[in-house]
């Protein structure tokens, strides 16, 4: 030690004495940081701070002698490859560690990295999750888990996770924050929300969810508060398919194709092998249907998705013409006499002659003209499909439905199943009434539904958006705010990345920035994303491995089940779930809200909810205890939901029931309960006619704002009239499944292309690009062009183009309230411009250009942005042992991340397969299907021009 060091040392000791004189840490105010009372658990499960040693506050020699000398083996985590084990040699030793799983606890859960919510288990040891795997007890996913779920550890232990509540200190969107305590955060939120409530306009508090799997908890809070302004992304997802299903069925908005028992699967634009609400459960059953049951899979898709690419046959129709092909197939099947006359006559509400007449213009030759798919193939596939009946089914999803004519596409596709009589049949086109947790499980009673109205939640222009259930029209929210049609005093966003996932990024950003439109914005998320960037308070959210839910989706077993999401470990930092602080918030807001939270703890609530899960005779455990052990319980007492329309009504049902002579519809107390069929009283369909409604008078009348109370009564359940606010917003909806083509597609100019959108198998829409193991596989999204198209535009692989996108001409006519933006010299309204590289692919229609979503983040961690972290420290002060100038934060990320793009968007220096990609929503205009409100993600007309 030299003199100056000695001097410095002396000063430090003086500082220490001064500090010690002031007092111990307690005097410095280490306590009083607020935010609950949770403390870190100790490794051996004893209470923190309790020493089992012989001296309080002393060093436990006995323990020390047991563990000293091997500090880095204490945790049971051996050295990890790619990551320096410090101190000590860098070599792996005893790898793989045969003791890794020894003594690990297996805790069940439910994945939430996409909407399929597969059952998972976490292997937990010493308070850390070692690995996440599928739960074989999940009857739907059967223990399988896709790449997203396997990246759960990236999500859980991401070094850039939000850990503390933050409050904005600069201008909104400026990115300046300070940490606050939970008490401060909840106090401020409560004051703001109470003010909204007291203003008499509770609907000016909006809750805006991305993926939400705690619906019960959010409903309870919003209903107790008194607002029904709950916004969602359903119209960006599945609105049209749901509306088309509901038109036929009413009972369910979700077709569950019984593919495992099928002989023929006809897929219109669904990419079930990569991304689907039923992804893993559905995909495994499709493959079982094919390779165990001999089914054939035929796919129509503009782009060769992995589903299309792995199908037995693939056809690329012109974008948005799925419905034309489906109707032509119906036409061909009836022309060949291969239709199921019995089903049509008995179980639909049209006659064979009516149907044949309706289908008459939709010939395969006509369909070839609009779709480009050869008439001969349409006939051949139609015939094969019909011959496989009843074990045949269609499947479709956003590929057919996210179009301006999507509602008609999906009705046409579904119609095929009625024509061949596979509706509700084993191996056919099925559904179930169980879209969530088995209804035998009931949460503690909640408040009555709030009855407010907001144009944001129920825009009057979209007749079918909120008729059978609340689908809403998410993509208009920010535009309507900017148009002054509504304002929000308070806005709470939850697991939402709207600037990235909503069409017209610039509109979203403008609305989120404007404090006159959104008075106060609380953002709840695990990571700082593009939405959080525009918040006033950010609340750190627990991951799906740290919180409670009862969970289930529509099961492909066609019967209900229950899955449990339970904390596998203590939440990191101060992350908390809404289930845990909504009660506190309600308490602070008061005014009666608090009385809905007298159920005890979150665990008490879940225990109550799960109490009817029956006892497993093998373990003697039921209710929550059974779920904590097994994760899932399937209600196998319930037969699969095949042919529910044929279920005979019970005598008790029929007491005091009335049969309508003309229609056979059976009503009781004015509500439909069934229908007479061949002298039998059966359940029928839950529609006004109690039949599969090929002709829907209901949707036509709803479109015209007419009263439908009598129809709704005969349906016996779902369905609603449009509210008074919708008056004056009439719209023509065809009774029959017909088809049209948007004008801009009908007359597509030679230089125009139709942009289509897609999702990768390793990503969801906006929440996975921060996970390094997934980003490594896909991080960028060059635009796909057919080589012929590329040649025509003089571009080749890796060349860059400028894409100009246009607002829909069809919508200019049908939805003038949406029109905004400037026209170019050609008279088209420009929606956006963006520069991207191209990749030529054989698997895309020559008139289409495809870009994926998920890419193009400008927040959401350095991983999502494909950037290394801050510049590494200079290493000249490397006096501390183990310092390594190359090693900085995530050593793996800093050292090994190979796809950083340093070109700054310069086409000349850009390297293939690098960078974070481009946000397609800079190009896509707000484009809701005028009937359902579903965003038309696959219809945007664009032009391209080579640059660079």
């Amino acid at each position: 030690m030299n003199d100056s060091n000695r001097e410095s040392r002396r000063k430090f000791l003086k500082l220490g004495l001064a500090a010690g004189g002031v007092g111990a840490a307690a005097m410095f105010g280490l306590t009083g940081c607020g935010g609950g009372t949770r403390a870190s658990p100790s490794a051996d499960g004893s209470k923190p701070g309790q020493s089992t040693g012989n001296l309080p506050q002393g060093i436990d020699l006995e323990k020390w002698n047991r563990i000293k000398g091997q500090p880095y083996e204490l945790g049971g985590f051996g050295a990890m490859p790619g990551v320096c084990p410090l101190p000590g040699p860098l070599a792996k030793r005893n790898w793989p560690d045969v003791n890794k799983y020894k003594g690990a606890k297996v805790v069940p859960g439910q994945c939430q990295l996409c909407s399929t919510v597969c059952g998972i288990v976490g292997y937990v040891k010493d308070g850390r999750i070692l690995k996440v795997e599928g739960n074989p007890n999940d009857p739907n996913s059967r223990g399988h888990l896709c790449a997203r779920g396997q990246a759960a550890l990236n999500h859980q232990y991401h070094p850039e996770r939000l850990l503390y509540p933050l409050k904005r200190v600069g201008k909104r969107g400026e990115g300046k924050w300070k940490r606050i305590t939970w008490d401060e955060a909840l106090d401020e939120i409560a004051v703001r929300l109470k003010a909204v409530r007291d203003s008499g306009k509770p609907e000016e508090f909006a809750f805006h969810q991305g993926r939400l799997r705690s619906q019960d908890a959010v409903d309870r809070f919003l209903n107790a508060f008194g607002t029904s302004t709950q916004l969602s992304h359903r119209a960006l997802c599945s609105g049209t398919r749901r509306a088309a299903n509901s038109t036929y069925l009413w009972e369910s908005d979700w077709d569950l194709n019984d593919v495992e028992h099928s002989k023929y699967i006809l897929n219109f634009g669904s990419n079930a092998f990569e991304a689907h609400q039923g992804h893993v459960p559905f995909a495994v059953r499709i493959q079982n249907g094919r390779y165990k049951n001999g089914a054939k899979l035929v796919t129509f898709d503009v782009r060769l998705s992995n589903t299309a690419g792995a199908s037995d046959e693939w056809f690329a129709p012109f974008p948005g013409t799925d419905g034309a092909i489906a109707l032509a197939m119906c036409h061909a099947i009836m022309a060949e006499g291969l239709h199921d006359a019995d089903f049509i006559t008995t179980w639909t509400n049209v006659t064979i002659d009516e149907l044949r007449e309706h289908l008459q213009p939709y010939t395969p030759e006509w369909a070839e003209k609009v779709s480009g798919v050869p008439a001969a193939d349409i006939r051949r596939i139609a015939t094969e499909f019909a011959k496989a009946a009843p074990a045949c089914t269609t499947m479709c999803n956003r590929g057919s439905s996210a179009h301006l004519n999507g509602f008609y596409n999906d009705r046409a596709v579904h119609l095929l199943n009625a024509v061949v009589g596979s509706v509700g049949k084993k191996g056919g086109w099925c559904w179930s009434p169980w879209s969530g947790v088995d209804p035998i499980c009931k949460p503690p009673d909640g408040p009555p539904k709030a009855k407010t109205w907001s144009v944001l939640e129920d825009p009057p222009e979209y007749a079918l958006a909120n008729i059978w259930n609340r689908m809403r029209v998410g993509e208009i929210v920010y535009l309507y705010l900017l148009q002054g049609r509504a304002r929000l005093q308070a806005y709470m966003t939850y697991n939402l990345d709207s600037p990235l996932t909503w069409p017209e990024e610039s509109i979203t950003q403008r609305a989120l920035t404007d404090e006159n439109l959104i008075g106060f914005h609380v953002c709840i998320n695990c990571f700082y994303n593009e939405t959080a960037h525009y918040a006033d308070i950010v609340l750190p959210w627990t991951t799906f491995m740290e919180r409670w839910d009862l969970e289930a989706r529509s099961s492909y077993n066609l019967r209900p089940y229950v899955g449990l999401r339970t904390p596998m470990i203590e939440p990191l930092g101060e992350a908390r779930d809404v289930r845990d602080y909504f009660p506190e918030l309600a308490q602070r807001i008061g005014g009666g809200m608090e009385k809905w939270y007298e159920y005890g703890s979150t665990e008490d609530y879940i225990r109550h909810w799960a109490q009817n899960v029956p006892v497993n005779p093998a373990t003697g455990k039921g209710g929550l205890d059974r779920l904590l052990e097994e994760g899932c319980w399937e209600n196998t007492g319930q037969p699969p939901f095949y042919e529910p329309y044929n279920i005979a009504l019970k005598d008790s049902d029929l007491a005091d029931a009335v049969v309508d002579e003309a229609t056979g519809v059976i009503t009781k107390d004015g509500k439909g309960i069934g229908v007479m069929q061949g002298g039998r009283a059966v359940r029928g369909f839950m529609t006004p006619s109690r039949k599969f409604e090929i002709r829907s008078l209901f949707i036509q009348k709803i479109g015209r704002n007419e009263d439908c109370s009598d129809m709704i009564a005969r349906g016996g359940g779902k369905g609603a009239n449009r509210p008074a606010q919708h008056a004056g917003h009439n719209i023509d909806i065809d009774q029959m499944p017909s088809w049209f083509q948007p004008v801009e597609h009908e007359s597509l100019n030679d230089d125009e292309l139709v942009m289509t959108s897609f999702k990768w198998n390793v990503h969801n829409h906006g929440r996975t690009m921060n996970l390094k193991w997934l980003a490594e596989i896909v991080h960028s999204n060059p635009a796909w062009l057919n080589p012929k198209t590329a040649a025509k535009h003089g571009v080749a692989d890796g060349d860059w183009i400028e894409i100009t996108s246009y607002f829909s001409r069809f919508l200019e006519d049908k939805s003038p309230h949406l029109v905004h933006g400037e026209r170019d010299e050609s008279g088209r309204i420009v929606a956006g411009r963006m520069r991207v590289p191209i990749v030529t692919m054989q698997g895309i229609h020559p008139r289409a250009i495809a870009m994926s979503n998920s890419c193009g983040h400008w927040q959401y961690t350095t991983v999502a942005q494909a950037k290394r972290q801050s510049p590494a420290a200079s290493s000249d002060d490397s006096y501390l042992a183990g310092s390594d100038s190359e090693k900085f934060r995530d050593a793996d990320w800093e050292r090994n991340m190979w796809w950083e793009d340093s070109s700054n968007g310069d086409p000349r220096t850009w390297k293939r397969n690098t960078g974070g990609g481009w946000n397609q929503n800079r190009l896509l205009p707000i484009a809701p299907d005028p009937i359902t409100g579903q965003q038309a993600y696959h219809d945007t007309v664009v032009t391209i021009k080579k640059i660079g």
């Binding site: 795997e133 990246a151 990569e274």
Partner: protein
Amino acid sequence: MSRDKTSRRDFLRSSVAALPIISLAATNHGAESQQGSQEKFQPEEFWRERMKAPDDGKRYGWFVDTRRCFGCHGCEVSCKAENDVPLGHFIRQTIYKDVGEYPKVARVFLPMSCQHCEDAPCIKACPCGALHKEAGGTVAVDYNTCCGHGTCVEVCPYGAIYLDPVAKQAVKCHNCYHRTEHGLEPACVPTCPSEALHFGDLNDPQSKISRAMAEAKTAEGELQQLRAQKGTKPRMWFAGPAPPAVEDDIPREGQSYSPEAYDIYNWKKHERPV
């Protein structure tokens, strides 16, 4: 009911055959054996014992049903998570290939990893004596011995070994023996949403893998192996269309799995430089 079930298979076969580069490549590499590698092998007495697996009556192997695989990458990410594999390095990978020309195009997927060869060249070439066989024939690295010479990488005909950037040691699939010893399957197997991956005891005719292989044989005829002509007796069998379409693009001696496999510009069969 599978009237037209053969259409995809036939189409893929004809498409692959139509690509001159494939048949050419197949001929070229067909002529190869372990010739180039042999000079890197150690004397037999050095590796003879390590080539023998401790005999517990089991014979582990893999069956990959590429008819079922749809390329989800679940197996690879599960492997990364299980083994904390650094970015840019891979113990297993799935290669995509688009086959055919618009409008007749298909995509095939080939998931693969170490083939756990019975006559493993990596064991023969290992200068430290680190590569050896575990019970059931699992080819594994002893990390108390491996010094990272990388000779195994030079001789592996499947590019299935990489050198860890920090440990400077060879890393490859070890059949997750730390999991199987606890009754778990290798991390990639149970997660597979297409149920395409099978691992288990080939000596047990009732094991899941044996039954899956028998079923596939009935449906497809003889199962395939990758680069069987190399004579290393790999313990991995395949059914379905992917092996002939992808075989040429699998890394070879001196290479390791690389991020290039994920580059969409490389999905195209016809433009891939060899």
